[in-house]
């Protein structure tokens, strides 16, 4: 892997890594540090990177492990709410978001943030990043049935809570 390949190909997954780390850590600075660390490790291990079958999944797994290390090191619970005070760059902002819809989106975010860690990770990888089940298995080092069960529980937990809020305003 030369420097051009690294810059053009490897760096292109930075935003996926960043969002995943941000989902786990809840802090933009921590997530950014994790992504930088991933890329430094990829560069330092570029001699063996050619043997990796799916290097994107490899990078994602590294981001997950580094995020978990940070959470363990700081002995804190995974942050449930992403720090919304930080201004993040937005690609193609969601059009025509009414105030009512915006309020519902906040509720959805709170529901998703309250999901168990594994369910949250699986749902993020599938519904935000669009990974296949096989890729999610590789990233999270889970088997297919575990991935499907966690996704099913996550989606249905979100759906049920949304229905309750809609019906009873809870």
């Amino acid at each position: 892997m030369d420097i051009d390949h690294f810059e053009k190909i490897v760096l292109s997954v930075k935003n996926k890594l960043f969002r995943f780390a941000l989902r786990m850590l809840g802090s933009q600075d921590d997530a950014k540090d994790v992504v930088q660390e991933v890329f430094i490790r990829v560069w330092n291990n570029r001699a063996t990177a050619g043997d990796v079958r799916n290097w994107e999944a490899w990078c994602m797994r590294m981001a997950r492990n580094l995020s978990l290390d940070r959470l363990r090191a700081s002995a804190r619970k995974p942050s449930l709410a992403i720090d919304e005070s930080i201004t993040l760059e937005q690609q193609d902002p969601t059009p025509d978001t009414s105030a009512e819809l915006s309020e519902s989106m906040t509720t959805v975010r709170e529901i998703m943030d309250a999901l168990p860690e594994k369910q949250r990770q699986v749902m993020h990888l599938r519904d935000v990043e669009g990974y296949s089940y096989q890729e999610i298995c590789e990233i999270l080092e889970l088997d297919m049935s575990q991935v499907k069960v966690n996704l099913f529980r996550a989606r249905n937990a979100v759906r049920e809570k949304m229905l309750k809020i809609d019906a009873y305003g809870l």
Partner: protein, 171 residues
């Protein structure tokens, strides 16, 4: 895309039976502004997922990473350079030691050096030298015997002389 199709896709979605393409269809549908009231909450979910996907790193990130990577490259390059310098130093020292050794060997007298490389030849030459020494010893011994014979004769004469003088004294 009709409402029935969307509802059918949504049911599949909740059961986790949709393909990635079908999920993409749902995402595209829920970006529309004219979503029916019955799907308002579901639209909020898909909009939230869309919004999550729009979180990206700022443009300075690539530069920061490339700077750190370049620094790593510089460190590696420095390490290689220093290693080569050390290796070159070792080569110079080894060469110097070898040259000094050769010089000392050349300046040593020939007698200090080994003269024969073949052990059998060395043995024959040693035998010759020892035989020569042995012959010389034999010659010297012959001469010494003559001197000893002379000494013995001298001692006998002295003894006879003293024996003759003793009876004369008694008389």
């Amino acid at each position: 895309m009709d409402s029935e199709h969307i509802h059918a896709l949504l049911e599949k979605y909740w059961r986790c039976e949709t393909s990635l393409e079908e999920e993409q269809q749902l995402r595209t549908y829920f970006r529309r502004p004219d979503i029916p009231e019955s799907l308002r909450e579901t639209a909020a979910l898909f909009r939230h997922l869309d919004e999550s996907r729009n979180k990206v790193l700022d443009s300075t990130f690539d530069k920061e990473v490339m700077k750190r990577v370049s620094k790593t490259r510089t460190i590696v390059r420095k390490w290689v350079y220093n290693s080569m310098r050390i290796a070159a130093g070792i080569v110079v020292v080894v060469m110097a030691v070898w040259l000094v050794r050769v010089e000392i060997r050349q300046s040593q007298p020939v007698s200090d050096q080994d003269t024969y490389s073949d052990p059998e030849l060395a043995f024959e030459e040693t035998k010759k030298a020892l035989l020569m020494i042995s012959k010389s010893f034999n010659l010297a011994e012959q001469q010494a015997r003559k001197i000893q014979l002379f000494n013995e004769a001298q001692n006998e004469i002295r003894q006879e002389k003293s024996a003759q003088q003793e009876p004369e004294g008694h008389l």
